[in-house]
Amino acid sequence: MSPKQRPDFYDRSSVPTGNLLANARKQALARGLYDFPIIDVDAHHREDTASWQGLIPYIEDDAIRMFAEDVTRRESAAGMMGLEIRWHSNSGRIVRPGVNGFADSLSDDGRDPLVRRTIWAMDEMAIDYTILFPTAMLFLGLHPQPQVEAGLARAYSKWLTREILPQDERIKTMLYLPFNDPQAALRIVEDFSDDPAVVGFMVTSVRYKPVHSNEFAPIYAALQERNMPLAFHAAYNWNDQSLSLLNKFISAHALGFTTSNMVHLTNMLMNGIPERFPRLKLLWVESGLAWLPFMMQRLDNEYLMRTAEAPALTKLPSDYMRDMWYSSQPMERSAKQSVMEATFDIMDAERTLLYSSDYPHWDFDAPSTIYDLPFLTEDAKRRILGGNALDLFGFKAESSATPPDDDATVTATEHGEPVAPPIGP
């Protein structure tokens, strides 16, 4: 039977819905999550073209700025950064208010829609502070023009720190470092590390320069000196030679989001970056947790046979890994509990694990995913949800999320189409 033969049923598939994060708020209230600090170390904004137009005046290079002005006026922001293939919403099955063409009806309080949407989601999930990262820049490391990567990264840093972050102190950032131009990356560290909303720096892992290369040494030294974390955010490059063998998004995503970080972590370890920069704080973002027992066992096992090949190391690779930090999402929860417990144990999760939501992306995790783990003590839950991040990033939690009104926002959709215009410019 085709949808044409059964139009009524499937036409009634999309209904006006209530607040799509209301259940997260109920979970938070039932668990007392509003009572202690929760820090989300990786949430995202999906910049619409209007946002990118806002940062264009900050592009310093005339040619890149003129190109960006034109392409965002006539086409879209994706036109300047490169397009990825967008299977993420699972052919429309995933719904997020205010993104992916779905409308919302957030009230206008004069602040940028990006700020309002972010704070709304944080309040619903009882998140006190969030570290925000731009979705569209996850793939910018693949841009064939290093000067465009560097120019956009710098413009984004200025726009975000001058126009967006001052609007709410609960939103922080780890600024994008354009690693294809190490000098430009170093300048961003030097110029922005004093900004109170900048709590660290981020390298997107989909890129093809080895991170142990000597040209990055000045960046690692500068970060170590400033005591600021460097995060590596996983993603996938479906055009990568290995991943291009995979014919499905599920496959490229499942593997790419781990292998992209595995490669950089392995280079870091085997080349002794933790020995050369012993106070450099490294954080690995969005590879989940199941890769960690694998990596620890795999690298230790080979290191013991081939110690001579990694002479910079003075201890096991897994020992260095337990001196790093890891974001939790997407936390694999499908195995039996003992497997998860072993994972938490081998990575010393009570010290090294930081909660991340990844909201509004398709595989986001609510804070309850951590809080409901039966084998963690209350103290461990609170450390993972917030305490570890506060220690790592070194800021004080002074504000707190409050549960918003029941109908703070509505996803107004019918038949898959927004019924009200999306907010924003």
């Binding site: 499937y10 036409d11 209530g18 979970q27 429309g92 099955r93 719904v95 609510a366």
Partner: protein, 126 residues
């Protein structure tokens, strides 16, 4: 649970439900989605078995099927519109709307409630 302890909650007139129509009602803080599917009514708690998302506010998608020929070659995938799934809007876990069963993990089910029709109205028993 004995007959006496159950609460009958009126959802609305049967005539107001066309095939695929739903209504989400609040019963003492529990949200229950009531759906009319193929002439009968099913009711589930508006809480997904994955992370507790609002599954009853999700969309209907047909079951997807892989097509192979006799020689083991893949001929692509097709949508079977006769088997509608209710898809949670948070991360797209899919449930057979007739049974509430999670299609990727048979045996895992949405919390279901009985429905009854009486004098032209549909009731949910909670």
């Amino acid at each position: 649970m004995t007959e006496r302890e159950r609460t009958q909650v009126r959802v609305g007139p049967v005539a107001e439900f066309r095939d695929g129509d739903r209504r989400i009602i609040d019963v003492g803080g529990t949200q229950v989605g009531v759906f009319r599917v193929d002439g009968r009514f099913v009711a589930y708690e508006n809480q997904c078995a994955h992370q507790g998302g609002p599954v009853c506010e999700g969309q209907y998608y047909p079951r997807m099927e892989a097509v192979f020929d006799d020689t083991g070659r893949s001929l692509g995938e097709r949508a079977n519109y006769d088997v509608p799934h209710l898809v949670c809007p948070w991360h797209s876990w899919e449930y057979d709307i007739h049974t509430g069963e999670m299609v990727g993990l048979r045996g895992l089910k949405l919390r279901a409630f009985q429905t009854e029709q009486k004098d032209g109205d549909v009731y949910v028993i909670v």
